[in-house]
């Protein structure tokens, strides 16, 4: 089932877990043997520690949820000192999701992560809708994305995956800019910006009013964007957004994804990621695909 995403990032199978939904992997070891996964992408990390947004940070929506965690994390240095030693020997690819509020933070953070032997790739989060000076500013224009990708590229020598925002008019254009400026792959989608109101209280349900929508409800949008981006770029595309089972995962691969990530579904079934690995295998056998990689773009 091996998937080679380029520049040294080789996955045992196409299934990874999405940043912000799988902690540092440790939270799920009772449910999933991490060695069965293609990779895990750890929490969104920023150069400096962040307390994130106030509570309440989530609201349930039809077939999905909103969150406004706001990148709570203890910063890159804490990650290196405290978390990295605990998780570096996981028998799977551990990717760091790197976020920032200014160009310098991205560059400095990427430089520090470059030195970590056991982190084969950064997923560059230029698409977080939940922080004011959040990366999303970079992720919604071609000039913004070019800037951050080209600067990070200069200091980061391993696999650079750029995570795209769906809150844009033309996502293929943004993906092309990332590709042109040195991304090794793109992952999409991050959350759709949404809002929820408690009509009885006449108040927004989230502390900062808007948040990011994820879960099954966003799947049709995510699938469309993966299809559009995969047609446009030559680098591998990692698909995510609402994947809840193996058939969903296969759909993303048929639409052009080389690998996939599972996010919110981990909350509903903490063992889902391993089940998706088995299910993709089963699908390949049933449909006569010798290699999982053959699924990519195999729409008839």
């Amino acid at each position: 089932m091996t998937i080679d995403l380029g520049r040294g990032l080789v996955l045992r199978n196409p299934v990874m877990t999405a940043s912000g939904t799988f902690g540092y992997g440790e939270e799920y070891t009772d449910f999933v043997d991490l060695a069965q996964l293609g990779g895990i992408i750890v929490k969104g990390t920023t150069l400096h520690p962040r307390e994130g947004n106030p509570y309440p940070r989530m609201a349930e929506t039809p077939s999905g949820m909103l969150n406004c965690v706001g990148l709570q994390n203890k910063g890159v240095q804490y990650f290196i000192d405290t978390i990295y030693p605990r998780i570096k020997d996981f028998d799977t690819n551990v990717l760091l999701n790197l976020s920032g509020s200014c160009l310098e933070d991205y560059v400095k953070g990427a430089e520090m992560v470059d030195a970590l032997d056991k982190i084969p790739a950064i997923e560059l989060n230029v698409s977080c809708p939940n922080v004011k000076q959040g990366g999303m500013a970079f992720g919604v224009t071609t000039t913004g994305i070019s800037q951050v990708v080209s600067e990070v590229r200069k200091v980061y020598h391993k696999h650079l995956m750029v995570k795209l925002s769906p809150n844009v008019t033309n996502i293929a254009e943004i993906a092309l800019a990332a590709e042109a400026d040195g991304a090794d792959s793109v992952s999409l989608i991050n959350t759709l910006m949404g809002m929820a109101i408690d009509a009885e209280q006449r108040k927004p349900k989230l502390s900062v009013i808007t948040g990011g929508l994820s879960g099954a409800c966003v799947k049709p949008v995510a699938l469309r964007m993966v299809w559009q981006v995969a047609k446009a770029v030559k680098i591998p595309v990692v698909g995510l957004g609402g994947i809840s089972n193996a058939i969903d995962a296969v759909e993303f691969m048929l639409a052009g994804a080389s690998a996939i990530e599972i996010g919110t579904a981990n909350f509903i079934d903490p063992a889902v990621s391993a089940k998706v690995v088995w299910g993709i295998n089963e699908y390949c056998e049933r449909h006569g695909f010798a290699q999982v990689a053959e699924l990519t773009g195999a729409l008839l």
């Binding site: 939270e27 509570y55 609201a59 909350f267």
Partner: protein, 253 residues
């Protein structure tokens, strides 16, 4: 070790707005401490996309059974409360950290409000097993909110308040006369946030050690999503993982 278990509903008792659900598992249950909780999958309905956190109300390890006390608040709890014997209910457990165990000889007060009495039952039971007989102070809006009162009474001296005075002393738990008459070494509280804050304030005035069990909105229940945070002296911490039980000194209340 946390597990995902398919339980079968083998017994149910209806209390109007609430229901007591007795769930049986095929396999032996993992260790569970009083104050820990479970995450229940409700069904595939669009408005119950996420699991629902519910306290462990009682455990019978020998018979592989847990008991949940569920109050109907919205779609999810309504669905749960209307489950029928034989239904399969998928549960992730055990989650979070329970109440701190008191030392032998310490005088413990367990304060419960509304459905917040749920985790106190298992706690009181375990305390009794350890030779500690707690005092219970249970509050409700009205008489019918005081579920399983006779069963609680077996586990320790039990005082009651109701807002309408239909049972016990009239008013809130913080107004009960027991506060004047007795003193305690440890206070444990579970209930609506305003009530917990009031008890915490009282405890702090009396300089008594106090733990509360929070019910923040949760998504994962595993410490992975950071949705359920409470503001503490150590910053935002996950209620599902570092709680739901917190010493009030740690909270920024």
């Amino acid at each position: 070790m946390k597990q995902i278990v398919d339980f079968k509903l083998v017994g149910k008792q209806d209390f109007g707005r609430s229901a007591l659900l007795r769930l049986h598992a095929e396999c032996a249950l993992p260790d569970m401490a009083p104050g820990q909780f479970v995450q229940v999958r409700v069904d595939g309905s669009p408005s119950t996309y996420l699991r629902r956190p519910i306290s462990i109300h009682d455990v019978d390890f020998q018979n592989h059974e847990i008991t949940l006390l569920v109050q109907q608040i919205g779609e999810g709890t309504r669905h749960l409360a209307s489950a029928e014997t034989g239904d399969i209910i998928n549960v992730v457990l055990p989650l979070g950290n329970g109440f701190s165990m008191p030392e032998k000889g310490e005088r413990c007060l367990l304060v419960g409000g509304g459905i917040g009495i749920a985790p106190l039952f298992y706690f009181a039971k375990v305390l009794n097993e350890k030779g500690i007989r707690p005092t219970l102070l249970l509050g409700g809006k009205t008489e019918s909110d005081l579920l399983r009162l006779a069963d609680y009474q077996k586990l320790g001296e039990t005082f009651v308040t109701t807002e309408d005075g239909s049972l016990g002393e009239k008013g809130f738990v913080t107004m009960h006369s027991v506060w004047q008459k007795q003193s305690f070494d440890k206070i444990y509280v579970c209930g609506p946030k305003p009530m917990m804050k009031a008890v915490a304030k009282l405890a702090s005035e009396k300089s008594v050690w106090c733990e509360v069990s929070l019910e923040n909105l949760m998504a994962c229940g595993l410490g992975a999503c950071l949705c359920c945070v409470e503001d503490t002296v150590d910053g935002h911490v996950c209620v599902c993982k570092e709680g739901p039980v917190f010493n009030t000194r740690r909270l920024k209340w």
